[in-house]
Symmetry: C2
Subunit: 241 residues, 2 copies
DNA sequence: ACCTGAACACCGTTCAAGT
DNA sequence: ACCTGAACACCGTTCAAGT
């Protein structure tokens, strides 16, 4: 007897009456609280209060907090804009997506945490997945390579931004410059890694926002170059690919 | 009056007496509980109990739970092995790191969450950063490009694995095959994305573990190709780079 | 059908008090 | 110096009861 495979997205929606709570209002209230106060301080009680309802009333529309957050996560995916793949060259489509995704992650900092905690199977997530897939198709990938390539840019962006958010959560409100960071690292390691420290001091841009943006762009360029290289006809083509 | 820049790693350590609690034991107990029960069920009370102490005793060694987790996170970084960059070609070093990092993230599933929540500034994190940096130096990058390239592979791996862990957390214990996933997606989207669904059905490997491993490898190859392409002398070299 | 409040089993953290 | 227990202000969720 194996567990049944189910999903939030397959549940019968509750029929709201004209006045009273509604699932979309609950999700909206959750998003507003998340934007204002962050994931850690979101509680069912606060969502209820925001809607002039008891916390426990939410449980008529939602099985539990995770299920609500799964809906909220799909709202996040709905905020990430991707150009229609027919309307621009594939590198431009993916670059625009990468920058939009980065901006959305930074504007709604709870998004990255939810992506790491809950599956992304809602309609907005699937719409985005489909658009990206078509961008890779238009690039010229075939067969299984479409599938293999289709998550690369998104993974890269998520992986870059996630630790940045963690850093900013802790040190974002602190007035800090590059030199102080390096000094702190030196105190942690002793005289351990002189070249690493010299590098930070000498070559990394003094403004951390600029440094982050440049590194993001550099890596994205590498990834796109590498994808192009693996396209049929490119010199990285695999035998029988 | 700006906030002072401080860190866990700069605090004066408490002097433990011969018998009694010790910071390293507290960290060790936390890691064990994390491996056994996951991040969400870790509590100060449980850590205390595991050490035959009251939960509040921990606060002598640790300012709060986040600070303890910052130490725990550095333990995680300590588990990620990277070959010495002198001992192998740079692509091999980075490939080995990528696979090791992926394995460690999968073996200690709380790691990815902590990376997204807390800064990685401990000695193990810095040791890893330095090794990776030297791998990029050995590859042939110069000046600011060392800095710009140095996070790329790590970001990619983190971004790939993080959503996989979220998926497995929800559906990992469910007996599920590819067809059931596709059917569920079709129920969510209606007949929305026929090509996306056909692709999943026809070209993605039937075993999800195999599918994930192949996609991981493909993207890593792309990224390494793209890095190589940007090396001085490569055709992607930038003017004045 | 929808909403409520009381209640349960938890949290992280503070603090006065003990040794 | 180190550890304790009581206490505070929270959590998510269940459930019997209301309308």
């Amino acid at each position: 007897m194996t567990k049944q495979f189910t999903s939030v997205w397959l549940r019968e929606p509750r029929q709201p009456k004209a006045s009273g709570l509604r699932l979309d209002h609950i999700i909206g209230a959750a998003v507003e609280l998340l934007d204002a106060e962050g994931l850690e301080s979101l509680s069912m009680r606060k969502i209820g209060a925001k809607l002039d309802a008891g916390a426990t009333s939410l449980y008529w529309y939602v099985a539990n907090k995770d299920e609500l957050l799964e809906w909220v996560l799909d709202e996040f995916w709905g905020m990430v804009e991707v150009p229609e793949p027919d309307e621009a060259p594939w590198r431009e489509v993916l670059t625009t997506f990468a920058y939009n995704f980065r901006d959305t992650l930074r504007a709604h900092r709870w998004g990255a945490s939810l992506i790491g905690q809950l599956p992304s199977m809602g309609p907005n997530a699937l719409r985005l997945t489909d658009r990206l897939r078509r961008a890779y198709v238009r690039a010229g990938f075939h067969g299984i390579d479409i599938y293999l390539a289709s998550g690369t840019v998104m993974s890269y962006v998520l992986g870059v931004v996630t630790p940045e958010l963690a850093w900013e959560k802790t040190y974002g409100s602190v007035d800090i410059n590059r030199e102080e960071i390096v000094q702190m690292m030196e105190e942690v390691t002793g005289e351990g890694y002189p070249e690493l420290m010299a590098d930070y001091r000498e070559v990394s841009p003094a403004n951390p926002d600029v440094a982050r943006a440049m590194a993001f762009d550099f890596g994205l360029l590498c990834l796109l170059d590498g994808l192009e290289h693996r396209l049929p006809g490119g010199s990285g083509e695999r035998p029988g690919g």
